[in-house]
Symmetry: C2
Subunit: 417 residues, 2 copies
């Protein structure tokens, strides 16, 4: 009960702050962001001191090495956080733009314009750099934020938030526009997801488990992000060298991220020729292969793919390999097992390319390029809140505009209906 009251109070404070924040000029928002970036660098030693203790405690608990690596903050990483905030300052203001303006025959003037959501709830896992990033994106877009980070970094995150709050308050932004839920109770996430009228949208950033939990419990609208079971299909007309180059990049350049390839599908007509080539290249790059029965007949040096493998986001150097009859079978496979994130075809046939683009029901569909490009920066948005895998509101990489909604403003002189 205490926990619920506490989280609710934080949300209410953020809601009140959001009403002030929504109409502050962009100069005020940018000024506060610059001060936040400076403050992070100025207080770098204090952040690192707390972080060092927290990392040591995580090591003692036997936390996995790659998780520890995500937790650690260094002067370079803090400088990168500050730099990220300064880049957000440079972006155009997403607020106030009208995207529909009309004067009706009765004289009513209707204007639909971009406004902030109000309070954005962001639930994330380990990395403390997400804290500064999420705060900066919300403030830039005129939103208050209610943050809930992973327990491993709670003290580091709290320190970062305190520094950001202080810089905000000294620069015309209410400090309560940034609220961090420091209570470790896992149910705080559920409480937060049910604060309708106080929280306007929830964005979970993290693994499949976190996202499923938020979707299950939330009555606040959710923007689902992240899970990527990405495919590359090699059509029978593919340029083999191009295919191998693109697949190696999609699988191995950063296997832990959501836009990395997890499944390779190969057209039956070229499988006997292409499969051994790509398989050797993958094995040389340290990739474990898991194939269907046919693939293993052609290239026996593979493990067996179970039914679960086809729908798994490995986030690791593992690749599932399957042989399909044609582009239609590839599309069916992707729509069945994929996560509607990013999928690619390698082909020299325009008809196959068109069909694939039309019928693969994913946020981002590629022809002859690596799935790794699905990213707000790569798309030229200058920032990224996450990659939406749902169809409502935003789909694919989300820039600042995804943190806004619209409002109709209607001016009349006594019109009645």
């Amino acid at each position: 009960m205490f926990m619920k009251d506490h989280v609710t109070k934080q949300a209410r404070r953020a809601k009140e702050a959001s009403r002030q924040l929504a109409w502050l000029p962009v100069e005020v928002r940018n000024g506060a962001l610059k001060a936040m970036a400076d403050a992070l660098e100025a207080h770098q030693d204090e952040i690192i001191e707390i972080n060092t203790k927290e990392v040591a405690a995580a090591r003692e608990r036997g936390t996995r090495k790659n998780m520890i690596d995500r937790l650690i903050l260094t002067p370079q990483r803090i400088a990168a956080m500050a730099q990220g905030i300064r880049q957000i300052v440079e972006l155009p203001d997403p607020i106030g733009k009208a995207d529909f303006v009309v004067t009706r025959p009765n004289g009513l003037q209707i204007r639909r314009q971009r406004v902030p959501f109000g309070v954005v709830g962001i639930i994330y896992e380990a990395r403390p750099n997400v804290t500064a990033d999420a705060v900066a994106l919300c403030i830039k877009s005129g939103n208050a934020c209610l943050l809930r980070g992973g327990s491993e970094a709670v003290r580091t995150n709290k320190k970062i938030v305190d520094i950001l709050k202080e810089a905000a308050a000294a620069n015309g932004i209410p400090s309560t526009a940034i609220e961090f839920i420091g209570i470790l109770d896992r149910d705080a996430v559920v409480v937060m997801c049910r604060l309708r009228k106080l929280v306007d949208v929830i964005i979970p950033r993290g693994g499949a488990g976190l996202i499923a939990r938020v979707v299950e419990h939330s009555t606040v609208p959710v923007i689902e992000t992240g899970t990527g079971v990405c495919h590359t299909f090699i059509d029978k007309t593919a340029d083999f060298d191009l295919a191998i180059k693109v697949c190696l990049n999609a699988k191995t350049s950063r296997p832990s991220v959501c836009n990395a390839m997890e499944t390779l599908l190969i057209h039956r007509d070229i499988a006997a020729d292409f499969l051994p080539k790509i398989s050797r290249a993958m094995i040389d790059a340290g990739v474990e292969l898991r194939g269907d029965e046919e693939s293993r007949k052609i290239f026996p040096d593979m493990n067996e793919a179970t039914d679960d493998d086809w729908a798994t986001e490995y986030n690791d150097l593992i690749l599932t390999v399957g042989i399909v009859d044609d582009v239609d079978a590839a599309i069916d496979h992707i729509n069945r097992y994929g996560s509607a994130h990013s999928d690619a075809i390698i082909t020299r046939d325009a008809d196959s390319a068109t069909k694939f683009k039309q019928l693969v029901d994913s946020a981002d569909v590629y022809v002859n390029a690596s799935t790794r490009f699905t990213d707000g920066f790569e798309f030229g948005f200058g920032a990224e809140i996450g990659i939406s895998t749902q169809k409502l509101h935003a789909r694919g990489p989300m820039g600042l505009e995804a943190l806004t909604t619209t409002k109709y403003l209607i001016d009349g002189d006594g019109q009645i209906r």
Copy 2:
């Protein structure tokens, strides 16, 4: 278990149909819609025969008169349904338009284009005309639909759907693109709301109870529609004649709809003068008044407003009346008790108007006009799926575009990251 399997099967059929439907040329979609309109008129007698029995059964059960009125179909009402479909045929195609096109420095060509959702789930209450309307909007926008209507009209709705399915199938649209859940079990709604990956969005159209139930149980993204606790605030500079005209229209022109006014707020400085005038006009129009303490001191011929009244959508000739200190107090009241639907200020002061438009956190904010204009047709959209009171995806009246999402199509020639 049977029910769950059955609903799931229907959704799966709709999903499969949606993949075919999504890329059919607009001529095919429009041709099928015209045939649907004709078929409704051609089969009018059969529809009315079934409807007559269903209405008689509802009367026997003691169904309320205004509910009975909504159930009844006549040749005129069927002609209006057909006409509604023909109007949708005339609207521009919402599919295929690109709203973001860029070639990146690395040569990647990125195009974001409007595509259908896939399967739209619509849950609605009594009126059978919603069936034809919902089907036509979905087919026009390239979506399959999964419909769940109220139990009182289940046989009438089923008949309408059968006629529409037949016309669709004869004109190049899979009949399974239109699926109607005829099972009366209330839990079918819950099952439907949890079919992630099969249903892409759920739109509840109906009363507050239905909407709350859908929001509570749905794991499929929801577009919340409808509930309207709409306010009109009379500022101290208001033109009294204009204010009375607009308020009478907002309250009495159609009290049962969501954009009707429910609460009148009056600036303290003019209350003694204005309140008696508007109160007499409302009483003359048959409106029951419920006032706060101060209002009743000025105009005693009013009932007492309880705390619940301020947040109630009456859908009836009842009006809550309150006195507030100034525009700020009016804004606070509206943001606290309103449903973020439509709210108006009557004023001759530009600063008050601007402040009201900026700070009232509602989908539609009016200056000197009746809240009754919140409507897709009045806004010039030519159609309306509903009025969204949430901030995600669509806000305010929703036209055809609200039934679409976007997709990124990326063409490369071997780009890697």
